[in-house]
């Protein structure tokens, strides 16, 4: 095989893509359609709850187009991190949508599913054997931490996809996966350079974000050959330039020259980007082999949240905002001192330092209006709700120095003013685990649909 063409519809299924541009991509006869479906970007809630980050209607819309196109051309469709955190629950949710589409459109295919969940027992054993590495979270993992985790997944590499592809499935739906794995699997299986295949995957997995103009909502085609690969946006008005592709190497990466992946890292320091028509030709990327590690992600519940959203327009109140916050916080903590360990109070003052907090560098402005959000996180929803109720009422009516507006301090935005925001999670596991086999943790099952 001289080349493999991989078509990626967008940066994540569920975000939509123009059908006509995708049809343009299918005319190039790709040997596979590959797409990412997940992310940790929307925060720990989705992993903690095991819920999709996208709505069913959007996922179904995107998947239906992909399943029909794959059926017509008889090529495999590979979907990774389905759909969101890539837990067993979101994988099953996605497979149910796939089956629903198959029924409605009378499609028949061989389906492979690969869950990415990791058991607590496995992780605790790995901990005991000293196989868990601390990295970006900078906090060593403990058995207690593993125990309090709600859901744990590991980013599978290309190997489980390749293992599945050997049985010639038509559709692969996988749980949590390293984003480029779906795009890199088929080329690596056919003997193409691992570094180039993974690098191509890294560019494709964001849709046409590496193009100019940049769009994560548009399809992109990757063509890998011996010694290089080409990337081409399917929008005829866009192009991939050496600059736009190089620019993309920085996106959401901590280091533009080195990207860690299962089994080693990509060295991009010698990569060459060249213009070829509307495409960019990429070569020179190297693979640096290392102990095989999987990135493990976990989220744990830390409580329940209630918030109130309000505005401040009174100029004297604005000048006394710090006084008010200090007083109501102190007073509320004192009132609920019998459950002092069970809650936290937070305030967010938009118009002052709501976004940057301590790093806010503009300090000498006099805003005419502030957005004030009060927040309570507590052990139970009932407690969060109760304390936030007290806090908002006090914030509304507390007397402050120079106060002339004795009827109320805040413009409350909603009725009810106290909004129960549900469970709060945090990422408590984000570690590397050394494994002997890249596939043993990811059992593959097949089903004729």
């Amino acid at each position: 095989m001289d080349e493999i063409r991989i078509l990626t519809p967008n940066g994540s299924i569920g975000s939509g893509f123009p059908e006509e541009l995708f049809a343009e991509g299918m005319k190039r006869n790709p040997q596979a359609i590959a797409v990412d479906a997940g992310s940790t970007d929307p925060g720990p809630y989705f992993l903690g709850k095991g819920l999709s980050i996208s709505n069913k209607r959007m996922i179904k819309r995107d998947l239906e187009i992909l399943l029909l196109a794959r059926d017509k051309n008889n090529i495999p469709l590979l979907v990774g991190s389905a759909c969101g955190p890539g837990t067993r629950s979101t994988l099953e949710w996605t497979v149910n949508i796939v089956k629903e589409i198959a029924r409605e459109k009378n499609l028949h295919f061989k389906l492979a599913t690969i869950p990415g969940d990791i058991s607590k027992e496995f992780l605790k054993n790995a901990l005991k054997q000293g196989k868990v590495r601390t990295f970006e979270s900078a906090k060593a993992l403990t058995v207690e931490e593993v125990d309090r985790t709600a859901n744990i997944v590991a980013q599978m590499g290309v190997e489980p996809f390749i293992e599945a592809l050997k049985s010639k499935p038509d559709v692969i739906i996988a749980g949590r996966a390293y984003d480029p794995a779906m795009m890199a699997a088929l080329p690596i299986m056919h003997g193409f350079d691992e570094a180039l295949a993974e690098h191509m995957g890294k560019i494709l997995e964001c849709g046409s974000m590496a193009a100019e103009p940049s769009s994560g909502f548009e399809p992109i085609l990757g063509t890998i050959r011996k010694g290089y690969f080409l990337v081409e946006p399917m929008n005829p008005k866009s192009k991939c330039t050496p600059k736009s592709v190089a620019d993309h190497s920085l996106y959401e990466e901590c280091n533009p020259f080195k990207a860690g992946l299962p089994g080693g890292s990509l060295d991009l320091s010698q990569t060459i980007f060249e213009q070829t028509g509307r495409m960019t030709r990429v070569s020179g990327t190297k693979f640096v082999k290392d102990t095989y590690t999987l990135k493990v992600e976990g989220a744990a519940k830390v409580g329940y949240r209630t918030v109130f959203i309000s505005g401040v327009r009174d100029p004297i109140m604005i000048s006394q905002i710090d006084y008010l916050i200090d007083e109501v916080t102190k007073n509320t903590k004192a009132f609920f001192r019998d459950v002092a360990e069970d809650f936290q109070i937070l305030f967010h003052i938009y118009g002052k330092n709501g976004v940057l907090g301590k790093a806010e560098y503009i300090k000498d402005v006099k805003p005419f209006e502030l957005g004030l959000i009060g927040e309570v996180v507590a052990k139970t929803q009932e407690l969060a709700s109760t304390i936030c109720g007290y806090l908002s009422h006090l914030s509304m009516h507390l007397d402050y120095p120079g106060c002339k507006a004795t009827a109320g301090n805040l413009a409350m935005l909603y009725s009810p003013e106290n909004i129960d925001a549900g469970e709060v999670f945090e990422f408590n596991i984000y570690h590397l685990v050394e494994v002997e086999s890249p596939i043993a943790l990811f059992p593959i099952s097949f089903e004729e649909i």
């Binding site: 940790t40 970007d41 929307p42 925060g43 720990p44 809630y45 970006e136 979270s137 900078a138 050496p242 600059k243 190089a246 620019d247 190497s249 920085l250 996106y251 959401e252 990466e253 901590c254 280091n255 533009p256 020259f257 980007f273 830390v302 409580g303 936290q344 937070l346 967010h348 709501g354 976004v355 940057l356 907090g357 301590k358 790093a359 560098y361 996180v377 709060v424 999670f425 945090e426 990422f427 984000y430």
Partner: protein
């Protein structure tokens, strides 16, 4: 004589985003190679300055990369709170670049 200009006048893109849940990463793309090279050579963007700017105790946790192919400087810092944890104010890390607008580069 080099005179300091606002970074926004010679940068086409100034942005921030999560680099996974525990890091913020900021990119400054310059409008041409010359401005990029002058910015790098000036040494204005250094670990100490960034640590001060973002109130980080350990300046060795600041990573700075000069990426000539993209005429860009990348800055990566640890988050005070992981994405979505209690007290986080920017889940995607999309607005953390704002202090960089205060930089002046001699050109």
């Amino acid at each position: 004589m080099a005179k300091p200009v606002n970074i926004a006048d010679i940068a086409t893109i100034i942005r921030s985003k999560n680099a996974k849940p525990f890091l913020f990463t900021m990119d400054i793309f310059f409008d041409n190679l010359e401005h990029y090279e002058k910015a790098v050579k000036s040494g204005v963007i250094n670990k100490k300055l960034i640590a001060g700017m973002y109130q980080l105790e350990d300046e060795e946790k600041v990573e700075i990369y000069n990426f000539a192919q993209a005429w860009a400087i990348k800055i990566t810092i640890p988050r005070a709170v992981a994405s979505g944890g209690i007290g986080d104010t920017d889940i995607y890390g999309a607005q953390q670049h704002a202090p960089l607008y205060s930089l002046k580069i001699p050109i």
